[in-house]
Symmetry: C2
Subunit: 85 residues, 2 copies
Protein backbone atom coordinates (compact mmCIF):
# COMPACT_ATOMS: atom_id res chain seq x y z
CA UNK A 1 0.00 0.00 0.00
CA UNK A 2 1.83 3.03 -1.28
CA UNK A 3 0.76 6.45 -0.04
CA UNK A 4 1.70 7.99 -3.39
CA UNK A 5 -1.01 5.90 -5.01
CA UNK A 6 -3.52 7.12 -2.45
CA UNK A 7 -2.46 10.68 -3.09
CA UNK A 8 -3.18 10.19 -6.78
CA UNK A 9 -6.53 8.66 -5.90
CA UNK A 10 -7.56 11.59 -3.72
CA UNK A 11 -6.45 14.17 -6.24
CA UNK A 12 -8.32 12.50 -9.10
CA UNK A 13 -11.43 12.17 -6.97
CA UNK A 14 -11.34 15.87 -6.18
CA UNK A 15 -10.69 17.02 -9.72
CA UNK A 16 -12.94 14.44 -11.33
CA UNK A 17 -10.62 13.91 -14.26
CA UNK A 18 -7.48 11.90 -14.81
CA UNK A 19 -6.22 14.05 -17.64
CA UNK A 20 -6.63 17.19 -15.56
CA UNK A 21 -5.12 15.75 -12.41
CA UNK A 22 -2.10 14.32 -14.23
CA UNK A 23 -0.09 17.54 -14.70
CA UNK A 24 -0.92 18.61 -11.13
CA UNK A 25 0.69 15.39 -9.91
CA UNK A 26 3.61 15.58 -12.32
CA UNK A 27 2.52 12.60 -14.39
CA UNK A 28 1.56 12.06 -17.96
CA UNK A 29 -2.10 11.31 -18.47
CA UNK A 30 -1.59 7.62 -19.35
CA UNK A 31 0.87 7.31 -16.48
CA UNK A 32 -1.73 8.47 -14.00
CA UNK A 33 -4.36 6.25 -15.57
CA UNK A 34 -2.04 3.29 -15.04
CA UNK A 35 -1.44 4.34 -11.44
CA UNK A 36 -5.14 4.38 -10.70
CA UNK A 37 -5.51 0.97 -12.31
CA UNK A 38 -2.63 -0.32 -10.19
CA UNK A 39 -4.36 0.90 -7.04
CA UNK A 40 -7.67 -0.64 -8.07
CA UNK A 41 -5.95 -3.93 -8.84
CA UNK A 42 -4.17 -3.97 -5.48
CA UNK A 43 -7.34 -3.14 -3.56
CA UNK A 44 -9.33 -5.58 -5.62
CA UNK A 45 -12.14 -3.14 -6.35
CA UNK A 46 -13.11 -0.44 -8.79
CA UNK A 47 -12.78 3.06 -7.36
CA UNK A 48 -13.98 5.13 -10.31
CA UNK A 49 -16.59 4.92 -13.00
CA UNK A 50 -15.14 6.12 -16.26
CA UNK A 51 -16.97 8.27 -18.70
CA UNK A 52 -16.14 10.45 -21.67
CA UNK A 53 -16.42 13.52 -19.49
CA UNK A 54 -14.13 12.32 -16.72
CA UNK A 55 -14.35 9.94 -13.80
CA UNK A 56 -16.65 9.67 -10.80
CA UNK A 57 -16.21 7.80 -7.56
CA UNK A 58 -17.98 4.48 -7.16
CA UNK A 59 -19.70 3.76 -3.84
CA UNK A 60 -16.65 1.72 -2.94
CA UNK A 61 -14.43 4.62 -3.87
CA UNK A 62 -16.47 6.94 -1.63
CA UNK A 63 -16.04 4.49 1.24
CA UNK A 64 -12.29 4.21 0.76
CA UNK A 65 -11.64 7.91 0.30
CA UNK A 66 -11.66 8.99 3.97
CA UNK A 67 -9.20 6.24 4.85
CA UNK A 68 -6.93 7.42 2.05
CA UNK A 69 -7.01 10.93 3.49
CA UNK A 70 -6.14 9.63 6.94
CA UNK A 71 -3.26 7.61 5.50
CA UNK A 72 -1.86 10.71 3.82
CA UNK A 73 -2.14 12.71 7.02
CA UNK A 74 -0.45 10.08 9.16
CA UNK A 75 2.29 9.64 6.55
CA UNK A 76 2.98 13.37 6.73
CA UNK A 77 3.13 13.22 10.51
CA UNK A 78 5.48 10.24 10.36
CA UNK A 79 7.83 12.03 8.00
CA UNK A 80 7.73 15.13 10.17
CA UNK A 81 8.61 13.03 13.21
CA UNK A 82 11.50 11.44 11.32
CA UNK A 83 13.03 14.81 10.47
CA UNK A 84 12.48 16.62 13.75
CA UNK A 85 15.63 17.96 15.42
Amino acid sequence: MDVALLHAFVQVSEIGSISEAAPALGYSQPGLSQRIQTLERRLGCRLFERGPLGVRLTDRGEAVLPYARIMIGVADALRAEARRD
Copy 2:
Protein backbone atom coordinates in the same frame (compact mmCIF):
# COMPACT_ATOMS: atom_id res chain seq x y z
CA MET B 1 5.85 5.82 1.77
CA ASP B 2 5.14 2.14 1.43
CA VAL B 3 3.32 0.39 4.26
CA ALA B 4 5.24 -2.83 3.54
CA LEU B 5 8.43 -1.01 4.52
CA LEU B 6 6.81 0.14 7.75
CA HIS B 7 5.67 -3.38 8.45
CA ALA B 8 9.26 -4.58 8.12
CA PHE B 9 10.39 -1.77 10.40
CA VAL B 10 7.90 -2.67 13.13
CA GLN B 11 8.68 -6.36 12.93
CA VAL B 12 12.42 -5.81 13.16
CA SER B 13 11.99 -3.42 16.07
CA GLU B 14 9.94 -6.02 17.95
CA ILE B 15 12.25 -8.92 17.26
CA GLY B 16 15.44 -6.90 17.63
CA SER B 17 17.18 -8.68 14.82
CA ILE B 18 17.12 -8.43 11.04
CA SER B 19 18.23 -11.99 10.46
CA GLU B 20 15.55 -13.34 12.74
CA ALA B 21 12.78 -11.13 11.37
CA ALA B 22 13.62 -11.94 7.75
CA PRO B 23 12.06 -15.41 7.50
CA ALA B 24 9.01 -14.21 9.43
CA LEU B 25 8.49 -11.58 6.72
CA GLY B 26 9.30 -13.93 3.87
CA TYR B 27 12.55 -12.24 2.92
CA SER B 28 16.14 -13.24 2.79
CA GLN B 29 18.27 -11.63 5.46
CA PRO B 30 20.14 -9.32 3.06
CA GLY B 31 16.87 -8.48 1.36
CA LEU B 32 15.39 -7.28 4.63
CA SER B 33 18.56 -5.38 5.48
CA GLN B 34 18.25 -3.55 2.17
CA ARG B 35 14.60 -2.82 2.87
CA ILE B 36 15.42 -1.21 6.19
CA GLN B 37 18.13 0.84 4.52
CA THR B 38 15.67 1.93 1.87
CA LEU B 39 13.24 3.11 4.55
CA GLU B 40 15.98 4.98 6.41
CA ARG B 41 17.11 6.63 3.19
CA ARG B 42 13.58 7.70 2.33
CA LEU B 43 12.91 9.08 5.79
CA GLY B 44 16.31 10.71 5.92
CA CYS B 45 17.15 9.36 9.36
CA ARG B 46 18.64 6.33 11.01
CA LEU B 47 16.07 4.12 12.70
CA PHE B 48 18.32 1.42 14.17
CA GLU B 49 21.68 1.18 15.79
CA ARG B 50 23.45 -1.91 14.51
CA GLY B 51 25.46 -4.18 16.70
CA PRO B 52 26.89 -7.67 16.52
CA LEU B 53 24.03 -8.95 18.63
CA GLY B 54 21.25 -7.46 16.56
CA VAL B 55 19.72 -4.02 16.14
CA ARG B 56 18.19 -1.54 18.56
CA LEU B 57 15.91 1.41 17.90
CA THR B 58 17.44 4.87 17.88
CA ASP B 59 15.56 7.67 19.63
CA ARG B 60 14.32 8.71 16.22
CA GLY B 61 13.22 5.16 15.57
CA GLU B 62 11.30 5.12 18.85
CA ALA B 63 9.57 8.34 17.86
CA VAL B 64 8.59 7.05 14.43
CA LEU B 65 7.42 3.64 15.59
CA PRO B 66 3.94 4.59 16.85
CA TYR B 67 3.20 6.38 13.59
CA ALA B 68 4.25 3.28 11.70
CA ARG B 69 1.83 1.22 13.75
CA ILE B 70 -0.99 3.65 13.05
CA MET B 71 -0.20 3.55 9.34
CA ILE B 72 -0.42 -0.23 9.33
CA GLY B 73 -3.72 -0.16 11.19
CA VAL B 74 -5.28 2.41 8.88
CA ALA B 75 -4.02 0.52 5.83
CA ASP B 76 -5.72 -2.62 7.11
CA ALA B 77 -8.94 -0.71 7.66
CA LEU B 78 -8.71 0.77 4.18
CA ARG B 79 -8.24 -2.63 2.60
CA ALA B 80 -11.13 -4.02 4.63
CA GLU B 81 -13.34 -1.17 3.45
CA ALA B 82 -12.33 -1.83 -0.14
CA ARG B 83 -13.35 -5.50 0.04
CA ARG B 84 -16.56 -5.15 2.01
CA ASP B 85 -19.67 -6.53 0.33
